[in-house]
């Protein structure tokens, strides 16, 4: 999500599942929705059947999504930036962009600082020792009035439009073919179909998944896709958007709730080491508008923050102690999972908790992960299932060859409930919070996660109460107002994150009390920075109001026929179904496409088929931009200093590249992402093409879900045994036929599997050489009702995206041999 926020302001799927039916063109790239999201994919079929939509699939494999596509174009894994950069070049050089949209709703005309530059694969400000950039020069030019300078004529060579044009003119169809292996004719056909939506009345949606994120430059792939959509005017409109099809049922929710190293709920962030002053902490996160009349909604940051601290620490958070600012840990650096496992590997960690998470299977380089876990003093696994992680210390022959006697980790395994045995809400990919109800008791002594967290916490708190210890204040003062302290109920927690009034709240205009003390709030617009409101997650405010649980609403009527169903459950923010929907109307507030209108200015207020994602009373002539979270008011092509590796996405090779060079430059420092973090010892175990000549990629099968369904009988019957896929030409070269047992090796280990020889994968001509792909489904392991298999992350490299540290699971090198 570190790519959408720097572009649009929020890190989430812009549209929603049913809205896909409104698309005229559907691009599926970096994903395989037909197999990974089958019931969501039905809306693509609806679009094809009832909206005459064209489905375009770009993928290294001819997937089941491709099998129903109007056009399929092959691509080498990990080269999506080149492909999409080529699309940008096509659109700009042929002037197939939606002019009205880009001029008014993007930073096209903004002038960029002279310090920004790009040369031979590297942006200005690079420090090769630190493998990072000094990003201060990557900014706009500001005028004396404090606002960013613009050139509405777009002629200034330092305006974003001109810089972008210059940056992408190197991404020619020839270069696309050379790097991606996509035949030029197929590439140009894709461009032509996409360009057909650069009009007021046609929409393209992009559906992507982990095929875009799991690269050392994954965030920049997504950004390139987002830029294409902006050029075409496809953001904020029905049937448009950049739509992250998220992998887990509540990955959106857990991210919204900020369960990450550096986050707090609602995309607020922890203070850093250097942020010692509360006021400076707030001001930095509450940016003033960069252009006149812009909303810059994050200016309300302090209201959200103080309300959070009141929810967590109650009366202990006061104005005098800066709302318990010191209770929050200060971040020295990002402690993402890769860093944590590296620290663990180096013996720097004592304990670790895995709540419904199986890291031994889910992160790269299993050998390193297992060795890391073995250095812990204690590991606590909370899960409904017997995971591999919980038995990392046990010998399972060649699948997990360890000696338990040598592993001194104490491991606790605590049984939790599964979805069917608990109440609560999940946030789907389209930001919709849907409530679910408990259907049965869990097996034997299994308990809900909430009871387990309470059990651990209350015991810890009692120990601090009795014996004291290191800074006990936040633990002792954590609010715990639950009916049954040993098992906080979902309805109580949902009310807490929605927020409530702590005193009678009155309207400053007329003094009328609109919420009494203790009442639930209607939305985050009612939050205050003076300690009079509490709210555990401002983004979810409105989900459980005084009127009740909006997430449990079940009216599926669709009066406009656009699939919006505004009374079904509840979507953040404030039940808006399509983000940035102000951009579906022109500068005068009239829908670009009257057939599929979203919101419009009715002469008095904004109204429409969706909840306006905008200031309701802002007259179109005020010129407020649709991207209200950005201080610019518009969307960003130029990401300023928000991306680790540069304001414009640039092609880099995967760390394990089958061609060894980056055809976009001649700089040995810029073959792979120059800003990606690589730990000592991991660079050394990257493989080289002479030993491992094949481009490998991992993926899911439609019959399985990650490492869960190998515990279910029916999935294990449907897909019982581990296999890998190779193309016919490679199989011939290697003397492998379908059904042969093969060994697939990377520089980190090997797996054995059955070979499936297929027409779905073909060798591609890249930079003058033939590159073959090896496809590796991920679903096997040593704890299973299916046949035991190898964890596929035995093969994968320990490096992540430079912004999010998402591991590079989709592009690495292997060799393959018949056993």
């Amino acid at each position: 999500m570190a790519s959408l926020a720097p572009t649009f302001g929020r890190g989430a799927m812009t549209n929603h599942w049913v809205d896909i039916k409104n698309a005229d063109v559907v691009l599926v790239m970096g994903g395989n929705a037909a197999e990974a999201h089958p019931c969501g994919f039905k809306w693509v079929i609806e679009a094809k059947k009832h909206n005459k939509a064209k489905l375009v699939v770009v993928d290294p494999r001819f997937t089941r999504t491709a099998s129903v596509a109007d056009l399929y174009a092959p691509i080498r894994t990990g080269t999506d930036i080149t492909f999409l950069g080529g699309v940008i070049n096509y659109l700009l050089s042929r002037d197939k962009i939606q002019h009205e949209y880009v001029k008014a709703y993007t930073d096209f005309s903004f002038l960029v600082n002279d310090d920004y530059g790009f040369e031979n694969g590297i942006f200005s400000g690079y420090d090769p020792e630190k493998r990072s950039y000094d990003k201060t020069g990557w900014d706009y030019v500001k005028g004396e009035d404090g606002y960013v300078k613009t050139d509405p004529t777009l002629q200034n060579p330092r305006c974003v439009y001109q810089l972008m044009k210059q940056h992408y003119n190197r991404y020619t169809p020839e270069m696309v073919e050379k790097i991606c292996g996509t035949p030029q004719a197929a590439f140009l056909q894709v461009c032509e179909i996409m360009a057909s939506t650069a009009t007021r009345n046609r929409a393209m949606t992009i559906l992507y998944a982990l095929g875009w994120t799991q690269h050392s430059y994954g965030s920049q792939i997504i950004r390139t896709g987002a830029m294409v959509q902006l050029l075409l005017g496809n953001i904020g409109i029905a049937g448009g958007g950049v739509n992250a099809l998220r992998g887990h049922s509540n990955i959106q929710g857990l991210t919204d709730l900020g369960l990450m190293s550096n986050l707090l709920p609602g995309y607020m962030t922890l203070p850093g080491d250097k942020e010692t002053d509360y006021r400076a902490y707030i001001d930095k996160r509450a940016p003033k508008p960069m252009r006149p009349n812009q909303l810059s909604y994050w200016q309300n940051y302090e209201k959200f923050h103080v309300s959070l601290m009141k929810a967590w620490f109650g009366d202990a958070a006061t104005q005098a102690n800066d709302w318990a600012f010191d209770y929050l840990p200060k971040l020295d650096t990002l402690h993402d999972v890769l860093r944590v496992f590296d620290d663990m590997y180096q013996g720097k960690m004592t304990g670790y908790f895995c709540q419904g998470f199986n890291p031994l299977a889910s992160f790269p380089n299993k050998a390193k992960l297992g060795a890391a876990l073995a250095k812990l003093k204690y590991l606590v696994v909370i899960d409904p299932l017997a995971t591999e992680t919980s038995e990392f210390w046990k010998n399972f022959g060649e699948f997990n060859d360890v000696n338990p006697a040598e592993i001194q980790t104490t491991v606790f395994r605590l049984p939790s409930t599964c979805f069917a045995e608990e109440d609560g809400a999940l946030v789907n990919s389209g930001r919709c919070l849907q409530w679910h109800w408990k259907g049965a008791e869990p097996p034997a002594e299994a308990r809900p996660d909430q009871a387990i967290m309470a059990g651990i916490f209350l015991r810890l708190k009692a120990m601090y109460q009795e014996k004291g210890g290191a800074f006990p204040d936040p633990i002792l003062n954590l609010t715990w107002p639950y009916r049954n302290p040993h098992e906080p109920a979902s309805d109580e927690l949902a009310r807490e994150y929605n927020g409530k009034a702590l005193v009678d709240l009155s309207d400053p205009k007329d003094g009328r009390v609109f919420r009494k003390a203790g009442e639930q709030l209607d939305s985050f617009a009612q939050l205050r920075a003076d300690g009079s409101t509490s709210c555990g997650c401002w983004l979810f405010s409105g989900s459980w109001t005084q009127a009740g649980n909006n997430m449990a609403r079940r009216d599926n009527s669709d009066p406009w026929g656009n699939g919006q169903t505004l009374n079904w459950a509840w979507a953040w923010p404030v039940n808006r179904r399509i983000l940035y929907n102000r951009a579906s109307a022109d500068v005068n507030g009239q829908p670009f496409n009257p057939e599929k209108k979203q919101i419009w200015w009715d002469g008095r207020v904004w109204t429409g088929t969706d909840v306006p994602d905008f200031s309701l009373t802002s007259h179109p002539s005020d010129g407020m931009g649709p991207f209200i979270m950005n201080p610019e008011g518009v969307a960003r092509f130029f990401a300023r200093g928000m991306m680790a590796e540069g304001p414009f996405p640039e092609h880099y090779e995967p760390f394990e590249t089958p061609i060894g060079v980056n055809p976009m430059n001649t700089n040995p420092k810029a073959v792979s992402n120059p800003a990606a973090r690589v730990f000592k010892g991991d660079m050394e175990v990257f493989g080289k093409a002479q030993d491992f000549p094949y481009a490998a990629t991992t993926y899911r099968l439609t019959e399985h879900f990650h490492y869960w369904t190998k515990h279910t009988r029916i999935s294990s019957i449907l897909q019982p045994e581990q296999f890998v896929e190779i193309g016919e030409d490679l199989a011939k070269e290697k003397g492998i036929v379908t059904g042969d047992k093969v060994r697939v090796r990377s520089n980190r280990g090997h797996i054995k599997a059955v070979a499936v020889v297929t027409k779905r994968l073909k060798g591609l001509m890249i930079n003058g050489q033939k590159v073959h792909h090896v496809g590796i489904p991920i679903h096997w392991g040593f704890k299973s009702v299916a046949r035991q298999g190898f964890l596929s992350n035995t093969l994968t490299p320990f490096v992540g995206d430079a912004n999010t540290q998402t591991p590079e699971f989709k592009s690495f090198l292997v060799n393959i041999e018949k056993i």
Binding site: Q214, N250, S429, R447, D449, M463, I475
Partner: protein, 195 residues
């Protein structure tokens, strides 16, 4: 007159219409004529959502077992919720097999511990589990909590214990987990969003 089911069909096929036989009083006993009871008719229907991917298909869970003391309800069938605007009653191969997930033989039933160097699990009580886990946490936190950094700045962080949360858990579990984890000062904190 008593006629067994088999005899009844024999008579019917002998040339007389079934309805007229019934009129004449020839009919099998009611119990024999009844079709097998449709199990779902007496099951409890609960609305839920699929825990797998982010389409979040609506589900109908059917369980049997009333709320009597010592009776545990058991889910016997799962199907797609036709009211849900996204999946409209459909489920994919994974979702259609959810019953086997709930009843997987690999579900965990009791708290367990594996002691250092041991090759086996040992069943323990929840009380023992909470006590031992909290003790280990406190020992580590008290030993390694960083109140100030090298520059003397208050940082109040705990780096030597980490926590991975699950992005298949509910908002409510996630929210409570975040609240507890941050109160301890932990920063090595993540969820599946990164993978």
């Amino acid at each position: 007159m008593k006629v067994t089911r088999r005899q009844f069909f024999k008579i019917s096929t002998a040339g007389l219409g079934g309805s007229s036989i019934a009129l004449m009083g020839f009919s099998p006993t009611a119990a024999l004529a009844e079709v097998r009871t449709f199990k779902l008719a007496r099951a409890t229907e609960t609305r839920n959502t699929c825990p797998y991917c982010s389409v979040a298909c609506g589900l109908l869970l059917y369980s049997v077992g009333d709320s009597s003391q010592n009776v545990r309800s058991r889910i016997i069938h799962i199907e797609g919720d036709p009211d849900n605007p996204v999946n409209r009653g459909s489920l994919c191969p994974k979702g259609a097999g959810l019953l086997d997930f709930i009843h997987s033989p690999n579900r965990l039933h009791y708290p367990e511990v594996r002691e250092p160097g041991s090759n086996a699990w040992k069943r323990i009580s929840w009380e023992e589990a909470f006590e031992r886990v909290a003790t280990l946490m406190k020992e580590d936190r008290d030993a390694n909590f960083i109140t100030r950094n090298d520059d003397g700045v208050t940082v109040n962080r705990w780096l030597s214990t980490g926590f991975l949360a699950a992005s298949a858990s509910s908002n409510e579990t996630g929210y409570l987990t975040h609240k507890v984890v941050r109160s301890t000062g932990m920063i090595a904190f993540d969820n599946q969003a990164r993978v």
